[in-house]
């Protein structure tokens, strides 16, 4: 009987050649949940914590709605306990030799390999994402991350001499992609000797499982602690004593709010925000391959967000036809099915996509969807939105998953303008078969990652991050390591919060002239590093010629003759040193699975505003100016308020040597200038060396355009010491990394 039924079925399939279901059993995931009695707590210091009297949230299968487990929600004291555990284990972990930490990470990689099936079925089950993507990309990438960072730990004493681990790191994760986002950040943090407390959103069991696997290694149970709780616990986690850095991944608005909340709290804040990506399709591209790039970017459960698609007008019709034909072949369904391209992402993601589509339609956009879904279905079809001009309100918002918003452009120049006409700067791909054009666009895009003729490639050795409102924190590559390091000897960061600082009135009291909008020194950016070095050396020579004037100016300010001479001499040396360092910029990275190079570019930030300290009126001014110029930035400087004259003397030389508009020195009330600069939306970064209150204000105000800021929290800095006055830290802060992927082959 059964045989004939199977036979009849085979007959039918023989005619239709349909795809069948390829279900992946999730029994092991359920069995693991059973070991916790379907009741998940927090994993702290190598054990499960399930405190009494806490509310809990159900963890549901996003497709069937079935209740899989209940997850406890942390409260303040649970967070404090987790941070305490991380702090206790920090002493032991950070003092181990790097080679020892490397072994521990390798053992964790093996542990993950041993339980990989459990990991990928659990992740796919609870997130609804296609299992193929979790199994074939996320879990192998997690192992590669551990192995890569184990190697980094092994060579840490040599390669990262002069740097020390920050301490306890607080990591705040978004609901989607929390497994991978977590691995990308805990690996470098643990490798360099930090310990981590991870706050995962309610009902995200995979990070808890990873923590359990790490705990089962026995040694160092407290280095990775995972607590589950609402996002409102973020500031609580940040304000725990000992937390030195908070890494946040999530939406831009949440990041902004956290930036404001953490002003003056002490820990550094690394933001990785937004999820939208961009694809530039030129008429010289292999259009069919570019269409596959769109699928990779938006419709294959590979990335969390949607896609802005810019298509050259001459290939618009052809591309749209191919896209629509391709969309017809996408398969949606339960993530645990091995032959599915797109799973579901839960009701919130679906509703967000639905709202965007409705709004776009009401603004006159065309929406093409492959297949229709009943309104109560957990799935959302792949959608292609077009005819939505930049001025329509809808285009201001991020494109949500699984949407692609296509717009035409006419020329490469216009493509670049449209691509950069957004407050966000995450990742982008350029599709063109003309090498010169592709490189021109790739260098011109204000993005953290650019792929040429590919989309969504990843590797632990390549820094991944963003700029502008996408946040300026990094994972992977050398940049990922520096996120969790500080120059040796930097004091621990303590809260310097001033409760009575009024953000609305800070710097408003004294009216003075507004600094004019700086002209961007485009000619400077285009200069070769050699030319920049030559100019810095010329400036050094000019300074030397002016030595006697400068010394007498400093003396008049009350500096001893000997000290004044030394200050001028050291200033000259600093200019020369940065001139020499400017030569070594950018490098090629080795990537295991890519044929072709990945370039790690060090690009200028744009307009960098610097509020110089009151002390060392000449030396601090030059020490800050030199790295900023060496990396190609346009600079706005506020010199020492007590003694601005030496700086203004230098200005005279700069006026004759440097292109106009490149360096702008403004004097006046420092608080007022700080306020203007910190709130300025078109200044890309700000360094502040002044009062604690000023630092706090700068941190708070930077939430506007999420510019990276560097503040001294009111602490003086030893500008005459090379470590603090000319250390590599300044160079890292004066430039922005871009990873440029160049796959090759013919």
């Amino acid at each position: 009987m059964a045989a004939t039924r199977a036979g009849a079925r085979a007959c039918e399939i023989f005619t239709t050649l349909e795809y069948g279901p390829v279900p992946e059993s999730h029994a092991c995931a359920l069995a693991w949940l059973d070991t916790q009695d379907r009741h998940l707590g927090h994993y702290v210091n190598g054990q499960w914590l399930k405190p009494e009297h806490r509310s809990s949230v159900p963890c549901q299968d996003p497709i069937t709605g079935e209740n899989l487990a209940s997850c406890l929600q942390a409260q303040t004291e649970d967070v404090a306990g987790a941070v305490e555990a991380a702090r206790t284990s920090l002493e032991n972990w950070s003092t181990q030799p790097g080679a020892f930490r490397a072994q521990h990470l390798t053992r964790l990689a093996k542990m993950i390999q041993k339980h990989q099936r459990l990991l990928w079925t659990l992740e796919s089950l609870v997130t609804g994402r296609a299992i193929r993507e979790v199994r074939d990309r996320d879990v192998p990438l997690a192992q590669q991350l551990l192995q890569h960072h184990a190697v980094q730990a092994h060579t840490q004493e040599e390669a990262l001499a002069g740097w020390e681990p920050l301490g306890v790191i607080g990591l705040i994760l978004p609901p989607t992609f929390c497994f991978l986002e977590m691995m990308q950040r805990i690996c470098p943090a643990l490798a360099v000797g930090c310990t981590v407390v991870v706050l995962v959103p309610p009902a995200s069991p995979t990070p808890l499982l990873v923590a359990q696997l790490a705990g089962e290694l026995g040694q160092f149970p407290g280095i990775l602690n995972v607590i589950s709780g609402p996002a409102s616990l973020g500031p609580v986690l940040a304000s725990q004593p000992g937390v030195q850095k908070v890494a946040f991944c999530g939406t831009i608005e949440d990041g902004r709010a956290l930036r404001r909340a953490l002003a003056g709290q002490g820990p550094e804040l690394g933001l990785a925000l937004g999820a939208e990506s961009l694809l530039l399709l030129m008429e010289t591209a292999d259009v069919d391959s570019a269409v596959e790039g769109v699928v990779d970017a938006a419709w294959s459960d590979r990335s969390p967000g949607g896609l802005r698609l810019l298509i050259q007008e001459s290939v618009w019709d052809e591309t749209m036809r191919r896209l629509q034909a391709r969309m017809g072949r996408l398969r949606g369904g339960r993530g645990l099915d091995g032959a599915v391209d797109m799973g579901a992402r839960g009701a919130a993601a679906r509703d967000l996509a639905q709202r965007y589509v409705r709004e776009a339609q009401s603004q006159g956009a065309q929406v093409f969807q492959a297949g229709s879904m009943p309104p109560d279905s957990p799935f959302f079809p792949p959608s292609l939105v077009s005819d939505l001009p930049p001025a329509s309100p809808c285009t201001q918002a991020e494109v949500p998953w699984p949407l692609v918003v296509a717009s035409p452009f006419r020329t490469a120049k216009e493509a670049l303008a449209m691509a950069n006409w957004t407050p966000r700067g995450g990742s982008a791909s350029v599709w063109s078969e003309r090498l010169g054009q592709a490189l021109e666009l790739a260098y011109g895009l204000q993005m953290g990652t650019v792929w040429i003729n590919a989309h969504g490639l990843r590797d632990p050795a390549v820094p991944t991050g963003g700029c502008k409102e996408s946040g300026s924190s990094w994972h992977g590559g050398p940049d990922g390591l520096y996120e969790y390091l500080r120059p040796s000897g930097t004091p621990t960061q303590l809260p310097y919060l001033s409760e009575n600082l009024n953000y609305d009135t800070f710097g408003l009291a004294v009216p003075s002239t507004l600094p004019a909008g700086p002209e961007t020194g485009l000619s400077w950016v285009g200069q070769s590093p050699g030319a920049r070095a030559a100019l810095l050396w010329a400036l050094a020579a000019a300074l030397q010629r002016r030595e006697s004037t400068l010394v007498s100016r400093l003396e008049r300010h009350g500096v001893e003759l000997k000290v004044a001479k030394a200050e001028v001499e050291l200033s000259v040396r600093r200019l020369r040193a940065w001139g020499a360092r400017v030569q070594a910029q950018g490098c090629t990275l080795q990537v295991a699975e890519l044929k072709g190079p990945v370039l790690r570019l060090q690009e200028p930030l744009g307009v960098l505003a610097i509020v110089c300290p009151e002390e060392w009126p000449l030396l601090a001014f030059v020490s800050l100016l030199a790295p900023a110029l060496a990396h190609g930035n346009t600079v706005v400087l506020v010199p020492s308020g007590a003694c601005p004259i030496p700086a203004l003397e230098v200005c005279q030389d700069m006026a004759t040597l440097l292109p106009g508009g490149l360096v702008n020195v403004v004097t006046g009330d420092r608080d007022h200038l700080t306020r203007c600069l910190a709130l300025h939306q078109d200044i890309q970064a700000l360094w502040y060396f002044g009062s604690a209150q000023g630092s706090q204000f700068v941190e708070w105000a930077s939430a506007g355009n999420l510019k990276p800021v560097w503040v001294n929290r009111g602490c003086p800095r030893a500008w005459d010491q090379d470590a603090e006055g000319a250390g590599p830290e300044l160079g890292l802060r004066a430039a922005r990394t871009k990873a440029l992927w160049l796959p090759m082959g013919d």
Binding site: Y19, V22, A285, D286, D746
Partner: protein, 318 residues
């Protein structure tokens, strides 16, 4: 089979702007193999379908009438009768799509098939197979003789020299003459993609072959060092789709060489399904050139039906 396509005037603008990005095509090829697994009954049904696409091939120097005869009977009875019965597929007339032999063996094949009471077509390779390095006159004569002997499909090889030196008009003219020499027989054009140098050339040669009137474009002779690969197939399938979008004519596709396992054949079917769609999944538009593939498919079917793996002697020899 239906009437073959007549081709069209040469239009070089169809190939002048084409760009193929090799690394991107390679990535797509990797993805396609991992994204559409086919299991259980679906696998069995798909494998049986794959049998109906096979051009069962022998192209060896030591072919004689006896092994040609064995091959023809295997083409008629590709899967053991009791296995088909177990799947309720015994009355579906499952045979391979064709027999493919050298021109000198066409007579043997036609005779053997007639004796077996089987009307599947005989395909003959021609035009100086596999290198194509003979005079045009003899190449054309070879086609005519094979057709006279009863071959109803001709697998011609193109002149790689013309592709590598960019003589697209000359290539078009040659294939045009092959087309004419074939008469009513179907023309399958072998591009020998392993020797064309780049994927862009593969696309251009595909387009020229279709414009010149080929009914099928075929990847390789099986005698080059690089055989039918997924990246090459993706480029050829995209060319077929472009040609269909431009002219409304559906051209067939035949990968050949190196396809040995049942698992491979499933991947090929899903590749066609993904890139061109279900309408291409019929013997008129899709063939697989293979000699040992059939044995592995039969073994897999045996396993599906019985739950055991077959010894080679459990299944009839070809």
């Amino acid at each position: 089979m239906s009437a073959h396509q007549r081709g069209m005037e040469l239009d070089l603008s169809w190939i002048s702007k084409i760009q193929v990005n090799q690394p991107a095509v390679l990535r797509r090829a990797e993805q396609i193999q991992a994204r559409r697994p086919v299991k259980k009954e679906w696998q069995a049904a798909w494998l049986l379908k794959a049998v109906t696409f096979i051009d069962l091939t022998t192209l060896s120097g030591d072919d004689t009438s006896s092994n040609i005869q064995r091959l023809c009977y295997k083409a008629k009875y590709p899967i053991r009768e009791d296995l088909l019965k177990a799947l309720n597929m015994h009355d579906k007339g499952i045979t391979t799509a064709a027999i493919c032999v050298y021109p000198a063996r066409v007579c043997d094949a036609v005779k053997a098939l007639k004796a077996a009471g089987c009307d599947i077509p005989v395909a003959s390779v021609a035009t100086g197979f596999p290198a194509g390095q003979t005079h045009l006159k003899t190449r054309l004569e070879e086609i005519r003789l094979a057709v006279e002997d009863g071959a109803s499909e001709i697998d011609v090889v193109i002149n790689r020299t013309l592709v590598l030196t960019g003589q697209w008009e000359a290539l078009y003219d040659e294939i045009r003459q092959f087309r004419k020499a074939c008469g009513e027989a179907h023309l399958k054009t072998i591009l020998a993609t392993g020797e064309l140098g780049s994927l862009t050339n593969v696309y251009k040669a595909s387009m020229i072959a279709m414009m010149a009137g080929s009914d099928f474009i075929k990847t390789s002779t099986g005698k080059e060092t690089v055989n039918a690969t997924f990246p090459v197939a993706i480029v050829m399938l995209r060319a077929i789709r472009d040609f269909f979008w431009k002219t409304g004519n559906k051209i067939g596709f035949k990968p050949a060489g190196g396809i040995r396992s049942a698992k491979d054949s499933l991947a090929w079917l899903s590749l066609i399904k993904e890139e061109l769609g279900d309408e291409w999944l019929k013997p008129e538009l899709f063939r697989i050139g293979a000699s040992t593939l059939l044995a592995d498919i039969e073994r897999q079917i045996y396993h599906h039906v019985t739950g055991r793996y077959a010894a080679y002697h459990d299944l009839p020899m070809s």
